[in-house]
């Protein structure tokens, strides 16, 4: 190893100079300047092989991780990367080495003394004589930043909770006086009390939305996705707005194509998004109509809400998704927003791996569009397992997955027809979801199988659930006179007991 470290410097200089030698204007930097940059920067820089061996590092790296030059020969990059990030780091390193595209890395580094550093940075490929030689990583220590972020989230969350009880007392107390439970109240005083009530409702809304934002930003919001018809969800939301629409003398038109859009979403969260976007459209539209389009394109379900309202000026559009941004407010009484709604919508849609955008022409109207990916069953299932796994890793609890395979699937399709079999599988998925007792549990169908995810559930308890669900499914099949005919085979896979990674779980399921 010593031999290699004596040989290395010449090569390293070459590597660093070949990668860093061009400035933004294309003129070469002096090698000395490049060297000075590596020496003086507070970011950690390391040069390493994808399989782990560390070839070189800069002073900031040694200082932050408390290692010395002598330690380098015995170290691999996987001594530095926290075990929980090892798999992800390995994947990133190999991908960069393969295609040469730099990639971001976020994770935890562990120093010599065991001290943990939260880092963010990028990994890129180094070439030697035109061939991939090693990787370089530049990382920024964000430990303090993450700590403050956590404190801020905790603060918002605690304050929000502490405000709720006094707000209940204020609201209910005023409401009782207003409702004359304690004696008659003159009309002018009633008007004043109504104002207090409206404002305490607004305060409650702000607290609610602040809490939503802080939980979304802290990554504490988890989706509970189920297969739903987006068209039905939109219709339900529109129905709830009918009274306000009538009161404002407006109209709502819907145009859904196709009429049914089956999609895996967290229904409540998408309703929250729709409620907010429709509420905004109604708030800023005094005459004309609101149109809702639903389309399916390129693997996405697209929902477009257009109004004929006063619109947003172009300079304000980029601010629309920022927290607390409110514009074109009118002087005088009226429904005040909190300026948090759109940023919540954006985050909720992004949690679904979707996108949201606002387009507007002043005095003509605004169009808010959100797109949600239409996963295949398998993609969705993979995503759902990954989420359930991260929940279980956080809690240090097991995740059990029950698999119901439909035996002789092809023969069954021939016998009953593809449509009929599809209908049966869908019905069974619905029955299982109806029978699950906890919000976190979910059943997802694939073509030939139904998987049931049970977070925080050891293998033994999964078998109890399996017995119960099997009975319910059997009752259904008997009722529908499909026994004999549809035969199910069931099994259980438990993480981390039997499979330690997502890939291992999938291998076991699809074996």
């Amino acid at each position: 190893m010593k031999k290699r470290s004596r040989k290395q410097p010449k090569l390293k200089k070459k590597i660093l100079s070949s990668e860093l030698s061009l400035g933004p204007c294309g003129k070469p930097f002096e090698e000395r300047k490049c060297h000075n940059f590596c020496q003086l920067t507070s970011d950690m820089i390391q040069v390493f092989k994808a399989e782990g061996a560390i070839l070189d590092a800069n002073p900031a790296w040694f200082q932050a991780l408390e290692y010395s030059n002598q330690d380098l020969s015995q170290l691999t990059v996987f001594h530095i990367v926290h075990p929980k990030d090892k798999k992800e780091a390995e994947d990133i390193f190999l991908a960069v080495l393969r295609d040469g595209k730099p990639r971001k890395f976020q994770g935890t580094f562990v120093g010599k003394s065991g001290k943990e550093l939260k880092v963010e940075g990028a990994v890129s490929r180094l070439l030697h004589q035109g061939k991939p030689y090693a990787l370089s990583g530049i990382f920024h220590d964000v430990t303090r930043h993450k700590h403050y972020e956590h404190l801020k989230d905790e603060f918002i969350s605690t304050v929000s909770h502490e405000l709720r009880t006094p707000l209940t007392v204020v609201r209910e107390g005023v409401s009782q006086v207003r409702d004359e439970l304690l004696g008659p109240v003159p009309d002018d005083q009633k008007a004043l009390l109504d104002m207090v009530l409206q404002n305490s409702d607004r305060l409650a809304r702000i607290i609610e939305e602040l809490l939503d934002v802080s939980r979304l930003e802290a990554g504490q919001v988890r989706l509970h996705r189920r297969l739903c018809d987006l068209a039905v969800v939109v219709r339900e939301v529109v129905e709830n707005f009918k009274i306000i629409v009538k009161r404002k003398n407006l109209e709502i038109f819907t145009d859904f194509s196709p009429e049914t859009i089956e999609i895996y979403i967290d229904r409540d969260k998408i309703i929250q998004v729709l409620n907010h976007l429709l509420n905004n459209a109604l708030k800023f539209t005094d005459q004309g109509h609101i149109k809702i389009h639903l389309r399916v394109r390129e693997g996405f379900a697209e929902c477009k809400i257009s109004d004929t309202g006063k619109g947003i000026s172009p300079k304000d559009i980029p601010l629309a998704f920022q927290k607390f941004s409110q514009f074109d407010r009118e002087v005088g009484p009226g429904d005040r927003g909190t300026g948090l709604g759109l940023s919540i919508c954006k985050k909720l849609v992004e949690l679904h791996h979707g996108r949201v955008k606002i387009e507007s022409v002043p005095a003509k109207g605004t169009t808010a569009t959100f797109l949600l990916p239409q996963y295949t069953h398998r993609e969705f299932f993979k995503d759902a397992i990954a989420q359930a796994m991260s929940r279980c890793v956080d809690k240090g609890s097991p995740l059990s997955i029950i698999i119901f395979d439909i035996l002789d699937f092809e023969a069954l399709e021939k016998k009953l027809g593809v449509r009929q079999v599809e209908r049966i599988v869908l019905k069974m998925e619905k029955i299982i979801n109806g029978a699950l007792r906890r919000v976190v549990d979910v059943a997802i169908k694939d073509t030939k199988a139904i998987m049931v995810l049970l977070p925080d559930t050891p293998r033994e308890s999964a078998f109890i659930a399996l017995g119960r669900i099997s009975q319910i499914l059997e009752d259904y099949l008997i009722r529908e006179q499909m026994t004999p005919g549809v035969e199910l085979h069931s099994s259980v896979v438990c993480f981390p007991q039997e499979a330690k990674t997502l890939e291992e779980i999938l291998d076991k399921i699809y074996a």
Partner: protein, 123 residues
């Protein structure tokens, strides 16, 4: 007349919620601690218990477990009310035996609707 027991360590909550329920025709019994609440529940055998989740010494979850284990009180529906949206999950509370959750701040309409819904279901 249906009898409702409210258990909350905030006397002001007992006052405002109690008043609203009394005016709407319910008999109201109150308790300021979990322990006192369990005693009242056994003695008064109310039709419904409104239980605060966050309380010092014995919290709502513990009171709920106790009420569920005791054959005298296990049939009484319990409605949890709480300010702790982050910690209290409706599904988990229901698994422990409560019928539902009411999150603070609630309006009188929400309170009365939920109480009526639970009592109607019981009968």
């Amino acid at each position: 007349m249906k009898k409702i027991l409210i258990i909350d360590d905030e006397p002001q909550i007992l006052l405002v919620v109690g008043t609203r329920l009394k005016v709407n025709g319910y008999t109201v019994v109150t308790a300021l601690t979990g322990e006192q609440g369990i005693k009242r529940a056994k003695k008064e055998l109310p039709d419904l218990i409104l239980l605060d989740h966050v309380m010092p010494e014995m919290d709502g979850g513990e009171v709920l477990d106790y009420l569920q284990k005791d054959p005298i009180t296990k049939h009484i529906p319990v409605l949890i009310f709480t300010a702790n949206v982050k910690e209290v999950k409706v599904g988990e509370v229901q698994m422990r035996g409560a019928v539902d959750c009411l999150f603070k701040p609630f309006t009188s309409q929400q309170l009365l609707a939920k109480v009526k819904e639970v009592l109607d279901k019981k009968t």
